[in-house]
Each structure stands twice: as structure tokens, then as C-alpha cells.
């Protein structure tokens, strides 16, 4: 709760979003069933290969979410409209969740296929670092009370973080490739493509839905902050 806050806004209305949510869940279920049903057992991984339909989309969606963070952060610094800030925050949260999901699913996948939970492979490590960068972003947000500071600072951090992601990936790759490599995730063979694409879409819809819901919640939180501010208003009356 800060002494200065952006224009008090109407709390947002859910509108058709709940419906959208149900649809995307349904589509997700369908895509999973379809993919699992159609894809033949992989000759190397057997049915472990099915993990791809959750792991890979999660990873891709992560990138999309953090892309949104970058975009909305830039918008916020430019237009100084608080809603962009809240959108960035929501995207960052959901992105972090999907990033964590990617890590966990990947590790669950890696255990049987590589025999280890983790290897310091370029992609794995850079994903972990990406995750940490945005954990930092979220920590910053929760450590700063003043709405204006929170907005400007996290925007700066979000942008720098996003810029840094490709660099991290590159550097880690170099770091890795200067030493012996371990078995990399197998590049994709066509008969799995359809299922993967469908699931990627499903994850995308889910992400959009989650971000939207988180965004509405964030708007309500801010509205509440305004309210408590109004309560604090004027300090001692009488």
C-alpha cells in the first residue's frame, strides 16, 4: 500500500473467460488422449516417449510467457499504465510455474532415459537459470511495497532478465560443449509431430487462461490495496 497509486480502476469482470477455461481444459484432455493413442512406442524409450507431450509443450509455453513479461514490461515503462505491470507480474508467475513444470517433468523423464535425474547439459542448466532469474523477479515484487517502485523496478528487472536468457543459453552451451557431451534429448521424428503440436496448442490456451485469471486476481488485490489505503486515509480523524 503506497501513498501514491495509479488511477483507481474498476475491478475487472470475468466475462467469457470461465467458458474459455473449460474449453481449453477439454481440449487439453483430448490432445493428451489423442497423442498417447496415436504415437507408437518409441524404439529406444518405449512409452516413456509419451512424456514429450507434456514436457516439451510446457517448455515452449514457458518461453511464450516470459516473452509476454518482456513485452508488457516495455509497455509499462513506456505508457506507465499500471495494468501492464500487473499483466507482466501475472505472466511471470505463470511462466515460472511452467518453467518449474518443465524442469520437474524433464527430470522425471531423464531418470529412466539417462539414468540420472540431472545432468549439467546446456539446455537443462540454462532452463534452471532461467527459472531462478524469474524467481528473483517475483521475490523483488514481493519485497517492495510501493506500487510505483514495484512497477518500475520489476519492469527493468524483467527486461534485463529476458535479454539475458539467450545469452545464458549460449554461454552455457559453450561451457558444455568444451567438455564431453552426454546423450542429448533426441530430436523429433515426424510421426510424433501432430500430437506434439496439438498439445502445444492446448498448453498455450491453458497458459492464456491462467494468466488471465491471475491478472484478474492481481487487479482485485490492487483494488483491495486502494481500499485499505482509503481506510488509512487521513490517519487520525477527530
Amino acid at each position: 500500500m503506497s501513498p501514491v497509486t495509479a488511477n483507481t480502476f474498476d475491478a475487472p469482470e470475468a466475462g467469457r473467460w470461465p467458458l474459455f477455461g473449460w474449453l481449453s481444459f477439454a481440449f487439453f484432455a483430448f490432445a493428451q488422449v489423442y497423442a498417447v493413442a496415436t504415437s507408437p512406442a518409441d524404439q529406444m524409450m518405449g512409452h516413456l516417449q509419451k512424456m514429450m507431450y507434456v514436457h516439451v509443450p510446457a517448455a515452449w509455453v514457458t518461453f511464450v510467457a516470459f516473452g509476454i513479461v518482456l513485452w508488457t514490461s516495455v509497455l509499462f515503462l513506456w505508457k506507465e499504465d499500471e495494468r501492464h505491470d500487473l499483466m507482466a507480474a501475472s505472466a511471470a508467475e505463470i511462466g515460472a510455474v511452467f518453467c518449474g513444470l518443465t524442469l520437474i517433468l524433464g527430470m522425471i523423464w531423464g531418470r529412466p532415459t539417462w539414468g540420472v535425474w540431472w545432468s549439467w547439459d546446456a539446455r537443462l542448466t540454462s532452463t534452471l537459470v532461467l527459472f531462478l532469474i524469474f524467481v528473483g523477479y517475483l521475490a523483488l515484487r514481493s519485497f517492495v511495497e510501493d506500487a510505483q517502485r514495484r512497477g518500475q523496478w520489476s519492469a527493468a528487472v524483467g527486461i534485463l532478465g529476458a535479454i539475458n536468457v539467450p545469452i545464458v543459453w549460449m554461454s552455457v552451451k559453450w561451457w558444455r560443449t568444451l567438455h564431453q557431451l552426454q546423450s542429448d534429448p533426441r530430436s523429433l521424428s515426424p510421426e510424433y509431430a501432430r500430437g506434439l503440436v496439438l498439445n502445444a496448442l492446448a498448453f498455450l490456451f491453458l497458459m492464456i487462461f491462467f494468466i488471465r485469471r491471475r491478472y484478474e486476481a492481481a487487479r482485485y488485490e490492487r483494488a483491495a490495496e486502494h481500499a485499505s489505503q482509503a481506510a488509512a486515509l487521513g490517519g487520525y480523524n477527530g
Partner: protein, 228 residues
């Protein structure tokens, strides 16, 4: 003052510390995340080849806990300092050791919770094989943490008064902690590498001994440290 008064006071302080910790929302999560980040840094520093990492695991885990824990100690007095709350705290009647006890317990809870996370992640990242005798390993970690926290809480009380807290605390603490750290690292390593026969017992005894010494010494000395 009667003992149960002190108990009530200790509870109040523990509650207060943990609440402020929780309130400053990401307080714990941030420290834990930092512990993990430090683990990753070590991973990069010690190069990608698995063998080296596995050998270093025991030491690295303890260092990560140490570096992250130090921050927690400072924070627990930071709360008192801004706004001169410490003076008020000192002016409450009753024994001062209660203040120390309260902060000690709060920090203990905090660091243990963090340790769990860091160790869990560490086991994965450094591909540690969990030994059959993991229960006794937990015992060792408990002993290590007690030593760490008792000294840490004590020195934090000292350094908190000076500016440049962040520098002073580790500077005082790390050298003093070396016996505890060494014992914990060696004992842990012995367990992880599986060759128990070699003198784990000795390390553990040493650890327990130091814990007792540190606890007694800090409780005794706290009064005079916090006094002025």
C-alpha cells in the same frame, strides 16, 4: 522473574520473528531460492564433469547452507534495528537470555526448513547417491545446524549494532565456525562416499562437543554483548 514468564516471553519472540519473516512475504522462499542459486554457481565453478561434483557435494551443500543462513541471522536483528525496536526490547523487564533463546529457536526453525530444500536440490543437482544410513545423516545435519545457528545468532547480535553488519557477521562467524563446518562436511562426506569405517564417529563426537560448548558460551555471553 519466574521461569514460565521467560517461557512466555521466548514464545512471543519466536512468534514475532517468524511472523515478520512470513509477512515480509518472500522472506523464506527468497533465502531458500538463494541457497539453490548458490548450489548452481558451485556447479558452474566446479566444472561439468560429474565425478568432481560428486566429490565436492558434501562440502558444497554445507557452504550453501552457511552462505544463505548468514543472511537469515542478519535479518532477524535487522527487524529490531530499524525504528529502534531493539532498545524497546531491551527495556522489557526480565532476563535477557530469553531474547537470545527466542531468536535462536526462530533461526533454528528457519535454517532447518531451508536446509531441507537445499539438500533436496543438492542431491539431485550433484547426483548424490542417498546412503542406506540416511537417518544418521539427518542426525549429523541437525548437529551441524545447531552449531551454525547458535554462533550465528550470537554474532549477529554483536554485528547488528555496527554498521556494515553484512560484512562483519560473516567475518566474525566463518572462522569461528570452521571446526563445526569441517566436522559436518567430513562426516557427511564419509556417509555419502560410503566409507563409514573411517572415523565418522570421531567427527560426530567432535560436532556434539562443539555444539555444547557453543551453546553454553553464547547463552552465557549474550547478556554482556547485548548490554551496551
Amino acid at each position: 522473574m519466574a521461569l514460565h514468564d521467560d517461557m512466555r516471553r521466548i514464545r512471543a519472540i519466536v512468534w514475532k520473528d517468524l511472523t515478520t519473516e512470513r509477512r515480509s512475504k518472500a522472506g523464506f522462499n527468497a533465502v531458500a531460492a538463494l541457497g539453490v542459486t548458490i548450489l548452481v554457481l558451485f556447479g558452474f565453478a566446479l566444472g561439468p564433469d560429474t565425478k568432481a561434483l560428486q566429490d565436492a557435494a558434501a562440502g558444497v551443500l554445507w557452504l550453501a547452507v552457511l552462505f544463505a543462513g548468514v543472511l537469515a541471522f542478519n535479518r532477524s536483528y535487522q527487524v529490531e534495528l530499524d525504528g529502534g525496536a531493539l532498545e524497546v526490547l531491551l527495556l522489557y523487564p526480565g532476563a535477557r537470555w530469553a531474547i537470545f533463546a527466542g531468536k535462536l529457536i526462530a533461526n533454528l526453525i528457519f535454517v532447518l526448513a531451508m536446509l531441507v530444500i537445499v539438500v533436496a536440490v543438492g542431491i539431485v543437482l550433484f547426483q548424490v547417491r542417498i546412503p542406506a544410513q540416511w537417518p544418521s545423516l539427518i542426525g549429523i545435519m541437525l548437529l551441524g545446524v545447531i552449531g551454525l545457528v547458535s554462533l550465528g545468532t550470537f554474532y549477529a547480535a554483536m554485528s547488528s549494532r555496527s554498521r556494515a553488519r553484512e560484512v562483519l557477521l560473516p567475518l566474525l562467524l566463518y572462522p569461528m565456525l570452521i571446526p563445526v563446518l569441517l566436522a559436518s562436511m567430513e562426516a557427511t562426506k564419509a556417509f555419502l562416499t560410503g566409507d563409514i569405517m573411517n572415523a565418522v564417529g570421531a567427527w560426530v563426537q567432535m560436532l556434539a562437543l562443539f555444539d555444547v560448548i557453543f551453546l553454553v558460551a553464547t547463552f552465557w555471553a549474550f547478556e554482556s554483548v547485548i548490554e551496551v
